[in-house]
C-alpha cells in the first residue's frame, strides 16, 4: 500500500471522531457551544502544526503562534473592505490600503506568505540544535510581536484590527483540522519524518547514515508554519477582530500544553491532548459561574479552569512524562491490543488440549 493510502486508512478513526464531534455539536449544541467547538478545531489545527515540528525534531518551539499571527494579519489586510481599511490603516505601505481581494486569493496569499517567512526564518533555526533552537524560536515570537505592536501603519499597533469578514463556520474548522491531521500524519510516516525522528533520537548515528538533518528540520519548520497559518486564518475569519495579544505567550503555552499532555511524538497524542484540555476547560468553565447540579446550587469558583489546567499538566508530567499516549498512534495501540488478545487466546487454546490430555 502506498504512503498516502496507508495514511488515509490510518487516519480514518480520528477523522470519523472529528466529524462526529462536529455533527453532534451542530445538531444539538447551543450557538455558544458551536463557538466552543470552533475554538477547539482552531487549537487542534495549531497543535497538529506544532506536532509536525516538535514531534519530528524533538525541539520545543515557542515561536509558532507568530505564524498564526502572520497569516491572520495577512488575510485581515487583504480581505477587509476598502471603506473600513481607509479608516483603520489609511497610511498602509505598498498601497495596501487600496487593495481588496476575495476570500480564496487572500487565504492562498496568506498561506504562501507565511510559508515564505517560515522558510527564511527556518534557514537559521534549522542549523541550531537543542536549547539554542528553542531560544531562537522564542526570539522569533518576540520579534514578530514587536513588529505587530510597532508597525502601526500596517497592523494598527496594539489596537484591534476589526471588520474582517466573518466568513468561516464550524465546517471550515473541521476541514482545516482534518487537512492538518493528514499533513501531520503523512509527514510523520514519510521517509522524511522517520529520518527526522531518528535524528532527534540519535543525531550522530542519523548523520552517519546520511540523514540531511538541517534540510529535514527546515522542511518540518516550514510545513508546520504553513499549517499554523491555517489556524490563524480560521481565527481571523471567525472572530472578525484580531490583536497582537491573541498571538503571543498565552496562545503559545496553551497549544504547547495540549501537545505535551497528549504526547508530542504522535499525532494521535496531539488530538487526545487537545480534546482533554478543551473538554476539561469547558467543563470547569461551566462550573466556575456557580451552576445548579442535581438540585445543588454551587458557589461561583472563578479561576477553576486555570487550576484544572495546571493540575492536569503537573499530574501527567509527573506520572506519564511521554504524554497520555506515550508517543504511540491509535493504530499502534490497536495493534498492541490485538496482539495481546491473540497471545491470550493462544495461551488458552494451548492450555485446553493439555488439560484434555491430563
Amino acid at each position: 500500500m502506498g504512503l498516502v493510502s496507508a495514511t488515509l486508512l490510518r487516519s480514518l478513526a480520528p477523522i470519523c471522531l472529528l466529524i462526529a464531534i462536529a455533527g453532534l455539536v451542530m445538531s444539538i449544541g447551543e450557538p455558544y457551544q458551536i463557538r466552543v467547538a470552533y475554538i477547539f478545531f482552531i487549537n487542534l489545527t495549531a497543535v497538529f502544526a506544532l506536532q509536525i515540528y516538535m514531534g519530528g525534531t524533538g525541539h520545543a518551539s515557542f515561536g509558532h503562534a507568530a505564524f498564526q499571527g502572520i497569516a491572520a494579519y495577512s488575510v485581515a489586510i487583504l480581505m477587509t473592505p476598502l471603506a473600513l481599511k481607509r479608516l483603520l490603516i489609511p497610511d498602509a505601505p505598498f498601497g495596501l490600503a487600496a487593495v481588496h481581494l476575495g476570500a480564496v486569493p487572500s487565504i492562498l496569499i496568506a498561506l504562501v506568505l507565511t510559508g515564505v517567512i517560515a522558510y527564511i526564518v527556518g534557514l537559521a533555526i534549522s542549523r541550531l540544535g537543542g536549547v539554542a533552537a528553542e531560544i531562537a524560536t522564542l526570539a522569533f515570537l518576540v520579534i514578530v510581536h514587536v513588529i505587530f505592536t510597532n508597525w502601526i501603519e500596517l497592523f494598527r499597533g496594539p489596537r484591534a484590527f476589526y471588520g474582517i469578514p466573518s466568513i468561516s463556520n464550524l465546517y471550515w474548522g473541521l476541514g482545516a483540522a482534518i487537512i492538518a491531521l493528514l499533513i501531520a500524519k503523512l509527514f510523520r510516516d514519510s521517509p522524511y519524518g522517520v529520518q527526522l525522528r531518528a535524528a532527534s533520537d540519535n543525531l550522530l548515528a542519523a548523520r552517519a547514515m546520511g540523514v540531511p538533518v538541517e534540510r529535514l528540520r527546515l522542511l518540518a519548520w516550514t510545513l508546520s508554519g504553513i499549517v499554523m497559518g491555517m489556524a490563524g486564518i480560521l481565527l481571523a475569519t471567525y472572530l472578525g477582530t484580531i490583536a497582537p495579544s491573541s498571538f503571543y505567550f498565552n496562545q503559545t503555552f496553551l497549544i504547547m500544553a495540549m501537545l505535551l499532555l497528549g504526547g508530542m511524538r504522535s499525532v494521535s497524542g496531539a488530538l487526545c491532548g487537545t480534546l482533554v484540555i478543551s473538554i476539561g476547560s469547558e467543563l470547569t468553565r461551566s462550573l466556575e459561574s456557580g451552576p445548579v447540579i442535581a438540585g445543588i446550587d454551587l458557589p461561583a469558583m472563578f479561576g477553576l479552569t486555570g487550576f484544572f489546567l495546571g493540575a492536569i499538566i503537573v499530574l501527567v508530567m509527573s506520572f506519564r512524562r511521554e504524554g497520555l499516549l506515550g508517543g504511540e498512534e491509535f493504530e499502534d495501540l490497536f495493534r498492541q491490543w490485538k496482539l495481546k488478545r491473540k497471545s491470550a487466546a493462544d495461551e488458552t487454546s494451548a492450555d485446553a488440549p493439555a488439560k484434555q490430555e491430563a
Partner: protein, 395 residues
C-alpha cells in the same frame, strides 16, 4: 526506584474519567432565574488574566442589589446578573458573549479593551443588544460598533483634553509626550489626544519620548528630558502602574521639578508607595473621587456594608454601568434589547455614581461625564477640582 504502571489500566481509568466528565457536563445546567420576569444583565468580565484589574463584577453586583432592594425596575421586575469569565482572551470573550446572548440578556457588559469588546458587539448587533464596556476608555470600540457599542467611562480623548485644560490653567505652555506601544491605545493614543487639545489651547509639544511600560528604571528617558533645551514645562503620558510612580520618583531624585500629567492609569493605591517623595509631581484626571458626602463615597460605604470589597475606581464604574442600564430600561418601558439600546442613545444628564452627570445623547457611544483632577498630598490621593473639558479632541 522506578514505579511500573500498567498502561492498560491507566487507559481504562482515563477512559472512565473522560466518560464521567462528559456525563457531568450533560447534567450541568446554568443557575436558573428565580423568576422568569427577571431581567438578565450579562457580564463578560475579565475576572482572571491581565485585564482583571480593569473590570469589577462586585461593583456591578452591588448596584444590582441596591436597585433590586429598592423595588427593581419597570414596577417590580428584578435585575439578575449572569457573570462569565472571559479570562482576558478575545476568542473566549466572543464565546462568552454568545452564551450570554443565548440566555436572552437585555444588555451585555463587556471587558475593557477594543479587541475583546468588538467581537461581542458584532454578535449582539443582530438583535441590537447594547454592549457596554465597563472599564474601557478607548474610543475605538464605540467607533467600530456605532449601533450598539458604548463606553461606560469617558473616552481617553475627553480625559486627555481635560488634562490639557487643567495644565494650561496652571500656566503650562510646553510639554513633552511619553509614548509607549505596550498598553494598547491607552499609552499610544492618549498623548496624541492631549497634544491635540493642548495645541488647540495654544500650548506647544516639544517632543515625543518612547518608553516601555512596566519597567523599574526610566533614567534613560529622564536623561533625554534633562538634555532638552528649552526644558518642557510638563510631561504627559498614558501612564499606568508602575511607571506612573517610578517616573515622578526618579524625576524628583534627579532634581527635575517638572510635573507629570496623566489620565486614569495612576488611579491605583500602588502609586502612592512607588512614587514616594516624587508623588508631589504627579497630577492626573480620573473618573471620580470618593469625597465625603459624594455619591461615590456613599456607594462605597453601602457596598462595604453589604459585604463587598471595594478595589479601585472600576468598582464605581461597574455601578455606573448598571445605573445607565436601569435608567434606559425605565425610559424604554421595556427590557427588550433593541428598545434598551435605543433608550441609551437618548440618555441625557443622568446622575451617576462616579459623576453627577452622564450624557450619551449625540455622543456616538462615548459618554460626556464630569471628571476629577487629582494630586498626591500627604501620601494620599486628593481631589484638586472637578472638571469638564470645553474642547474635546476628536477620537
Amino acid at each position: 526506584m522506578t514505579i511500573q504502571r500498567n498502561p492498560k489500566t491507566f487507559r481504562r481509568k482515563a477512559g472512565s474519567a473522560f466518560a464521567a466528565a462528559l456525563l457531568t457536563t450533560a447534567t450541568i445546567t446554568p443557575a436558573l432565574a428565580e423568576d422568569k420576569d427577571d431581567i438578565v444583565i450579562g457580564y463578560a468580565a475579565a475576572v482572571t488574566g491581565a485585564l482583571a484589574p480593569y473590570d469589577s463584577p462586585d461593583g456591578v453586583q452591588c448596584r444590582i442589589d441596591q436597585i433590586n432592594d429598592a423595588g427593581g425596575v419597570l414596577g417590580g421586575r428584578k435585575l439578575k446578573l449572569e457573570l462569565r469569565d472571559m479570562k482576558s482572551d478575545s476568542a473566549l470573550s466572543a464565546t462568552v458573549g454568545q452564551e450570554l446572548l443565548d440566555m436572552g440578556a437585555a444588555a451585555i457588559l463587556s471587558p475593557p479593551t477594543d479587541d475583546t469588546s468588538i467581537p461581542i458587539a458584532t454578535l449582539a448587533a443582530a438583535t441590537s443588544t447594547p454592549v457596554l464596556s465597563v472599564g474601557g476608555t478607548q474610543p475605538a470600540f464605540p467607533l467600530a460598533m456605532p449601533t450598539n457599542g458604548y463606553l461606560v467611562p469617558y473616552g481617553d480623548n475627553a480625559s486627555a483634553s481635560a488634562a490639557a485644560q487643567y495644565a494650561w490653567s496652571q500656566g503650562m505652555k510646553t510639554a513633552v509626550l511619553m509614548i509607549s506601544h505596550d498598553v494598547g491605545s491607552y499609552s499610544l493614543m492618549t498623548p496624541e489626544y492631549f497634544a491635540d487639545a493642548f495645541e488647540h489651547l495654544g500650548g506647544k509639544v516639544l517632543g515625543r519620548i518612547n518608553y516601555n511600560s512596566g519597567l523599574s528604571d526610566y533614567s534613560a528617558q529622564i536623561a533625554e528630558i534633562q538634555a532638552m533645551d528649552p526644558k518642557p514645562d510638563m510631561i504627559f503620558g498614558g501612564l499606568i502602574v508602575p511607571e506612573a510612580g517610578v517616573l515622578p520618583r526618579q524625576l524628583d531624585a534627579a532634581g527635575l521639578d517638572i510635573p507629570v500629567y496623566s489620565t486614569d492609569g495612576p488611579d491605583d493605591p500602588g502609586v502612592l508607595e512607588i512614587s514616594g517623595k516624587g508623588g508631589k509631581l504627579l497630577h492626573f484626571v480620573t473618573h471620580g473621587f470618593p469625597a465625603e458626602g459624594s455619591p461615590l463615597a456613599e456607594f462605597y460605604a453601602d457596598c462595604e456594608k453589604r459585604g463587598y470589597k471595594v478595589q479601585n475606581i472600576f468598582f464605581g464604574l461597574g455601578g455606573d454601568a448598571v445605573t445607565v442600564l436601569a435608567d434606559a430600561i425605565e425610559n424604554a418601558k421595556s427590557a427588550e434589547p433593541a428598545k434598551v439600546n435605543a433608550a441609551i442613545k437618548e440618555l441625557d444628564g443622568i446622575e451617576g455614581i462616579t459623576t453627577d452627570s452622564i450624557t450619551y445623547k449625540d455622543r456616538k457611544g462615548i459618554p460626556l461625564k464630569g471628571m476629577s483632577v487629582m494630586e498626591i498630598k500627604d501620601g494620599k490621593f486628593s481631589m484638586i477640582e472637578p472638571i469638564k473639558p470645553d474642547y474635546v479632541a476628536a477620537p
